[in-house]
């Protein structure tokens, strides 16, 4: 007797799931295509170098000026500020969870950290506007509390759970045998942590930092609500700024379809896409090297 043919149903399932799996590839391709199709025309008007290094962003003036340097610098500034918040908080709490907390504490704390990551960014923005901004304004006697500092602080808190949970994973990959070897040589907990665990988890922790950064750079709602929105080259943390994501979100709704301004916003989006893409590739390659270094499977 012959073996029965592969059933029609089975073939159908394979096809359905293949289509579903490849759809994300399709969406990615579509997004990249549209970004480039809509973004590249601006470079017929302004060359790439002028676009990136131009000091003035006056897209609605006549003649308009498309220099995104103030926006890029604002993004850089806000990201840097947020890193100062999320790196110590995220890595500190990862170290606590991994090395100090008891089993039960770790379980509770980890789920709390994950809940923090689930809060929608609009709620962080809300909190910033309602509480942080007036507080800062009164405290420092500022003309407005909507500034790079507020955005940095809230973004930093927002990115903390991402940084924490990736760093915690990196720490938990450090083989127990390293710690045991260290203790068996008469090292105490602190020495073991600083000389063995952190160096062994180092590249994993740095990829946590980079992924945290990538989340901050691409975050829109908080900067739109809190950064103040002034498209000028930032001079201090206590002045309003306009990071690239806020510029896209704020201006896209009002721009005329197909105008130069419209194409310029798409060009900004290409740059943003490129930045986060590079961050993710770097983080991925660091963490792959790190797993190899520790002799773990890919």
């Amino acid at each position: 007797m012959k073996f029965p043919m592969k059933g029609f149903k089975e073939k159908l399932y394979i096809n359905i799931f293949s289509i579903l799996a490849f759809s994300s590839l399709f969406f990615l391709g579509g997004i990249v295509f549209v970004l480039f199709k809509e973004g590249l025309p601006i470079f017929k008007k302004v060359n790439f170098f002028e676009f990136v290094s131009g000091r003035f962003w006056y897209p609605t003036y006549d003649p308009p000026e498309f220099g995104i340097l103030p926006l890029l610098l604002a993004s850089f500034q806000v990201t840097l500020g947020a890193m100062f918040v999320c790196v110590p908080l995220g890595i500190g709490s990862a170290l606590y969870l991994n090395e100090i907390a008891s089993f039960k504490q770790r379980k509770i704390m980890k789920s709390l950290v994950e809940i923090l990551a689930m809060i929608p960014s609009i709620i962080y923005g809300f909190f910033g506007i309602a509480i942080l901004v007036p507080f800062l304004q009164n405290l420092l006697n500022l003309p407005t509390g909507l500034c790079a500092f507020s955005a940095s602080l809230v973004l930093g808190i927002m990115a903390t759970p991402t940084a924490c949970s990736i760093a915690e994973d990196a720490l938990s990959y450090v083989p127990r045998s390293f710690k045991e070897a260290s203790f068996a040589l008469g090292a105490n907990r602190w020495q073991t942590l600083v000389k063995v665990v952190i160096p062994a988890a180092g590249s994993g922790i740095s990829s946590a930092v980079i992924l945290g950064m990538s989340r901050i750079v691409g975050e829109t709602m908080v900067v739109l609500m809190l950064a103040g929105g002034a498209a000028v080259i930032p001079k201090s943390f206590f002045e309003p700024v306009r990071p690239i994501t806020a510029a896209i979100a704020a201006e896209m709704g009002e721009v005329a379809l197909g105008s130069d301004h419209y194409h310029a916003l798409f060009a900004i989006a290409i740059i943003l896409f490129f930045i986060t893409f590079v961050f993710n590739v770097i983080a991925e390659s660091i963490s792959r090297k790190y797993r190899l270094k520790l002799g773990l499977a890919q």
């Binding site: 203790f183 040589l185 008469g186 520790l294």
Partner: protein, 265 residues
């Protein structure tokens, strides 16, 4: 005190006792892993701990340098004396105990650092800063562990590039560098090939001149080759202990005989 322990004292009256284990019980949560253990470990001798898997061999040597304290839910009762001093006493710093009682693990576990850094690690964490002194000690430890000739030209290479047998000798060197008095070997050859195993065994016999050695092993021939005394554990109990020759030729307990003749385990 049980009969076997007295026996070991009698036959070795010339030797002094390095470690004395008294009435030790150990629990992992509810599991009673070691039951009423009494055992003397003699100075400058190799004591082999044998027994089937899960009999408490590894647990037993881990309590000898307080490594069991790293396990949550562990409870130890009884007393362990090192040169007459109770090392379980709460006023004794476990890091000090571990410096005096070193340990080599089942799987070679060098740090992902250079060969030199691996060996100097123990000295540095014990507060030694003098670079020349550290260098001398590293060379000395590598020579003692019979690794020097193979690594002298590449001390800055990552230790993970070494072969398994070399890594294990590096772990021994790392342990020797802090000048312990006792070295615990937890199945040190379990993951090594026969040639590397022979090298480690040679080394153990050589080291007993200056150190007291306890080795856990699954391999009866290995126990016979390297040890002076053998203790047989079964289900958390110490069944029998005595001179290795006596244990293998004329075991007193039926269970020991069954195990070493290969009837179980």
């Amino acid at each position: 005190m049980d009969m076997e322990t007295k026996g070991i004292c009698k036959v070795s009256s010339f030797n002094s006792i390095k470690i004395r284990v008294e009435e030790v019980n150990f629990f992992y949560g509810k599991k009673h892993a070691l039951k009423d253990i009494n055992l003397n470990i003699l100075k400058n001798q190799v004591t082999a701990i044998i027994g089937p898997s899960g009999c408490g061999k590894t647990t037993f040597i881990r309590i000898l340098n307080r490594m069991h304290e790293l396990i949550p839910d562990a409870l130890l009762t009884g007393r362990i004396f090192l040169d007459g001093q109770d090392i379980l006493s709460s006023c004794i710093d476990p890091t000090e105990v571990r410096r005096r009682v070193g340990m080599v693990f089942q799987k070679p576990n060098p740090f992902p650092k250079s060969i030199f850094e691996n060996v100097s690690y123990g000295l540095k964490v014990n507060g030694i800063r003098d670079k020349n002194f550290i260098e001398d000690k590293v060379v000395e430890a590598l020579k003692k562990s019979a690794l020097w000739d193979e690594v002298k030209d590449r001390l800055d290479d990552n230790a993970l590039k070494l072969s398994g047998g070399q890594q294990q000798r590096l772990c021994i060197a790392r342990c020797l560098a802090v000048k312990p008095e006792v070295i615990l070997f937890d199945e040190p050859c379990a993951s090594l090939d026969p040639i590397s195993t022979a090298k480690i065994e040679e080394l153990i016999v050589e080291l007993k001149k200056n150190y007291t050695i306890i080795i856990v092993t699954h391999n009866m021939q290995q126990a016979a080759r390297v040890s002076d005394y053998t203790a047989f554990f079964l289900l958390g109990e110490l069944i029998e202990v005595g001179r290795t020759g006596d244990i293998f030729k004329s075991p007193q307990d039926k269970r020991t005989e069954d195990y070493i003749t290969g009837r179980f385990g």
